[in-house]
């Protein structure tokens, strides 16, 4: 019987490259004649560029070209007659400005310094139009998005909470939050002739980047080669191909040189999306013994005037708890700002912050323990879709988390536990995120020496995809992980979905699983054994005995029909213990426990890190992060790391990740449900609820900065 490798902790297979500086990210490849491109941002918020004076810039030392709306060669995919029109902002295609910081010129020079300097010489004149960036002021202009799943939802009776014995009605604010991966967004492109381009870019999906760039330049997809071997974090900011990426490709074509375009940190606050500011109203109604009788969840979120962005900001309220009556409403408010993008745990984390906070408020109103309240309203089936769960172990999550955090020490009366000067509080916040599986392909090559190489065009933005794939392969093949290599991050590999929505291990892992099973079957057949034999295989020996130089095998893999009969989600319960200083309002997070039902865990070591990373993101959401627009000028005033506070080491306690680790029987052959999002969803309300438990102060607008605790 083969050894069970899945779940064993394995150090990252690319760890050595990362600790020696050998891992090359998309802006780190050198090409002969490499040139550097720098964007020039608009200084107005709304209006038109009437002229761009590029004389000084174009004659500045080392400058090759200055691209503006007035001289740019047309990008075919931007034109109305395009076969597959590119959606969103079309940079340099017209002279409209929709938000502050939108690029109005691109300077290309032989060094970065020269391009940066020349960019300061570009002078634009504008015709200014009135603009709206003030969300509160424009909230009445919210519109219901077109897509069906964002339409108003009613189960039972709408606003039933209003007639309940006990009710909570509150507003919760999620501010704009910036992804801010550590790697600046960067694209390096070079053309060979007019029909073939190679692009090294910060991308979560090399296939989708390939499609987007092929569509933009009207090329055959196979003539667009995308590389994203290492990606320095993304968290959703690289799910799509951004206008500046297309501009880099456009520039490379124009100057006939390789072009590298790197955004500045400040530009990353305007050009690559963000978690939209969302104001949410929650109404909860319950019987005196804590049975929910109605849930109402209404949200308004930021979007751009030039493109509609939507996410599942209210959906969690439809299924997380059992309730006969639920209604949700979701509207987006178009403003003169850049378009948002899904940010880790996207709308679900925004929605869960509101729902889980309101539920906590209800627990105090009812005088029922928050965990007990969740148990009384436990959803045994998905009422939204009226389907059974493929698996759900949230009750165990409550139990394990409560034990680890010391829930028994929690006082039901806020502000009653002290440790020295500090007030102590405990909180819980839960979350759920859909478990997905897309079509993915994998190719396996068995070499003469018995080693294995597997390829799939997935990417790795940090979770350790290649390591996880090797664990899965080692498990199926019954061979040591060291004998297996896995290639990703290149569009010439067998197609795989974009890394997003916590689905990579489910999708690509299934393809890897299946290709390894296929290899075993093939080898058994060659040996004249039954396909499903469980005999140990000496891979090198078989290939020698069959007189083969190597053996190659490819599979495509996707969900069976059975999946449609189930509702599939990962679930999490986060527990926080906080200390709050009553005189200064300082909050210290003492302890954070993340308990997760995410099906089978492939690699305990990297999965635990991913959980901790999500928790750190959740701490940022709860405690420090808020991108602020000065509405007088329509521009961000904290577009840098000094003023926009992401958590630093001193903000972070030890964090414990606990896995239920039971395989999901439906979703895929390995039984994994995904952890990328669920690691963050529910963290912020756990902290906010703990802060309330410590102080009796309910902060309903994140982040929980000290001033909000000094009443």
């Amino acid at each position: 019987m083969k050894k069970d490798t899945i779940g064993e902790p394995l150090s990252r297979v690319d760890g050595r490259l990362k600790v020696t500086g050998g891992a090359k990210y998309s802006g780190e490849y050198k090409f002969p004649g490499l040139t550097y491109a720098v964007l020039v941002p608009a200084t107005i918020v709304n209006g038109t560029v009437t002229a761009v004076d590029i004389k000084a810039a174009k004659y500045a030392p080392g400058v090759l070209a200055v691209i503006t709306p007035f001289n740019a060669e047309k990008v075919p995919g931007y034109q109305p007659d395009a076969k597959k029109p590119v959606k969103g902002l079309k940079l340099f295609n017209d002279n409209q400005v929709h938000f502050n910081g939108q690029p109005i010129a691109l300077v290309i020079a032989d060094t970065f310094e020269r391009a940066t300097y020349a960019a300061t010489l570009v002078k634009a004149t504008y015709q200014v139009q009135p603009f709206e960036t003030d969300f509160r002021k424009n909230i009445d202009k919210g519109v219901t998005p077109n897509a069906g799943k964002y339409k108003d939802y009613v189960r039972g009776e709408a606003d039933a909470y209003k007639n309940a014995q006990v009710k909570i009605e509150q507003e919760y604010i999620q501010p704009s939050e910036m992804h801010n991966p550590m790697e600046l967004h960067v694209t390096t492109a070079y053309w060979e002739g007019d029909n073939k381009v190679t692009v090294y870019t910060k991308s979560q999906g090399v296939m989708s980047s390939q499609r987007a760039i092929a569509a933009a330049f009207n090329l055959e997809p196979q003539n667009v080669l995308i590389n994203a071997r290492f990606v320095g974090g993304a968290f959703g900011s690289s799910l799509r191909t951004w206008p500046h990426e297309i501009a880099a490709v456009q520039a490379a074509k124009f100057v006939k040189h390789p072009v590298k375009l790197t955004l500045t940190r400040e530009q990353m606050f305007t050009l690559v999306g963000y978690r939209p500011l969302t104001i949410q109203k929650i109404g909860l109604g319950a019987t005196a013994d804590g049975k929910l009788t109605g849930i109402t969840h209404e949200s308004h979120s930021q979007t751009a005037v030039y493109e509609e962005f939507t996410e599942n900001a209210v959906n969690v309220s439809r299924f997380l708890y059992q309730s006969p009556n639920v209604n949700t409403r979701y509207k987006v408010v178009p403003l003169h700002i850049g378009v948002p993008a899904p940010m880790r745990g996207p709308g679900e984390s925004t929605g869960a912050y509101a729902l889980e906070s309101a539920l906590d408020e209800l627990s105090y109103a009812l005088n029922i323990d928050p965990i007990e309240l969740r148990l009384r309203n436990y959803a045994d089936i998905d009422q939204e879709r009226n389907l059974p769960w493929s698996s759900k172990h949230l009750k165990e999550c409550y139990q394990l988390g409560a034990d680890r955090i010391g829930w028994a020490n929690r006082s039901p009366k806020p502000g009653t536990i002290k440790d020295g000067d500090w007030l102590v509080g405990y909180g819980i916040g839960c979350g759920a995120f859909g478990a997905y599986r897309g079509h993915a392909e994998a190719k396996l090559k068995l070499m003469a020496d018995g080693s294995i190489n597997i390829q799939s065009a997935t990417t790795d933005i940090g979770p350790g995809t290649n390591t996880a794939m090797i664990v899965i392969a080692a498990d199926v093949l019954g061979m040591p992980a060291e004998k297996i290599t896995f290639d990703l991050g290149n569009s010439s590999l067998p197609p795989a979905p974009t890394q997003g929505g916590s689905s990579t291990v489910s999708s690509v892992g299934s393809a890897v699983h299946d290709v390894c099973v296929a290899l075993r079957q093939k080898l058994y057949t060659l040996q004249g054994k039954p396909r499903d034999s469980m005999d140990e295989i000496d891979y090198a020996a078989v290939i020698k005995e069959q007189n083969l130089p190597y053996l190659e095998i490819s599979v495509g893999s996707e969900s069976g029909d059975n999946a449609k009969n189930y509702s599939m989600y990962s679930f999490s319960a986060h527990f926080a213990k906080v200390y709050v200083h009553p005189l200064t309002g300082v909050v210290k997070i003492k302890n954070l426990i993340a308990v997760v039902d995410a099906g089978k865990i492939v690699n305990q070591k990297t999965a635990a890190s991913q959980m901790k990373g999500g928790a750190v993101g959740g701490i940022g959401m709860a405690m420090t992060e808020e991108a602020i627009i000065d509405n007088r000028f329509g521009r961000y005033i904290n577009g840098n790391f000094a003023d926009y506070h992401v958590p630093v080491n001193a903000d972070i306690p030890q964090i414990e990740a606990v896995f239920i680790n039971k395989p999901d029987p439906v979703i895929n052959p390995v039984g994994t449900k995904g952890i990328g999002e669920i690691s963050l969803i529910g963290v912020a309300p756990a902290i906010a609820n703990a802060v309330f438990n410590a102080t009796g102060i309910r902060v309903r607008d994140l982040p929980i900065t000290p001033d909000k605790l000094l009443s």
């Binding site: 690319d14 600790v19 020696t20 030392p61 007035f70 060669e73 550590m182 993101g617």
Partner: protein, 213 residues
């Protein structure tokens, strides 16, 4: 929209083969034609002026990087980070902000940790620089590098070079006495993937192990 003007490339110029000076060509060009002898105009046309100016515009810089001595010629405005990454192709040192706010660019200058994006390259004349590429002893990883692998002190890896360089210095400085102290003295290095707890564990192991660090 106004009429399409000629794209931004001046005619007959292959920019990469030489650089231009703007003092003759741009504002002063007509004046120059009027006032200068014909020889100078000719020199301007063949870009001699640019080559001369480009030469004087740059400064000599001698640095030892990872044990190798380099004699470089750099613009005064170039940062150490840019010279390492773009001239010496030492891309292990990362750019996360270029403003001294993230620590991704941390290197050792004469043994002390420095944000290389905040250091003009020419101020490092005759100094000794160590980057992440110079930390290991041949194939043998520095104990901090090994500890980062063992404790999974990274995910995407983009902040990692800076974290490791900072961590090594943190121990040298005597700032790794406790978990709290490590957190405080490692707070100039942002990790957006949130590997902080694992980074602290890695540093503690090296610090306690009395490794040469």
């Amino acid at each position: 929209m106004p009429e399409k003007e000629t794209p931004g490339v001046p005619e007959n110029e292959n920019i990469l083969s030489g650089t231009r000076r703007d003092f003759l060509k741009q504002s002063g060009f007509l004046t120059a034609v009027a006032l200068t002898p014909i020889g100078i105009v000719k020199a301007a046309e063949s870009h001699l002026d640019e080559k001369v100016a480009a030469f004087f515009e740059k400064m000599p810089l001698k640095m030892e990087v990872n044990g190798v001595s380099h004699q470089l010629s750099v613009e005064p405005r170039s940062t150490l980070l840019e010279v390492l990454r773009e001239q010496l192709d030492l891309t292990g040192t990362k750019k996360g902000c270029d403003r001294g706010q993230c620590g991704a660019c941390t290197v050792h200058v004469n043994g002390k940790r420095v944000n290389s994006c905040l250091s003009l390259a020419i101020t490092n004349n005759n100094k000794t620089i160590t980057t992440i590429e110079g930390l290991a002893d041949g194939d043998e990883l520095h104990p901090m590098q090994q500890a980062f692998i063992d404790h999974d002190g990274f995910q995407c890896g983009y902040c990692t070079s800076g974290q490791i360089m900072s961590a090594v210095a943190c121990i040298h400085e005597g700032h790794a006495g406790s978990e709290t102290e490590i957190r405080e003295f490692m707070s100039g290095n942002i990790c957006r993937c949130g590997a902080y707890p694992n980074i602290v564990n890695a540093i503690q192991e090296v610090s306690k192990g009395g490794n040469k660090a």
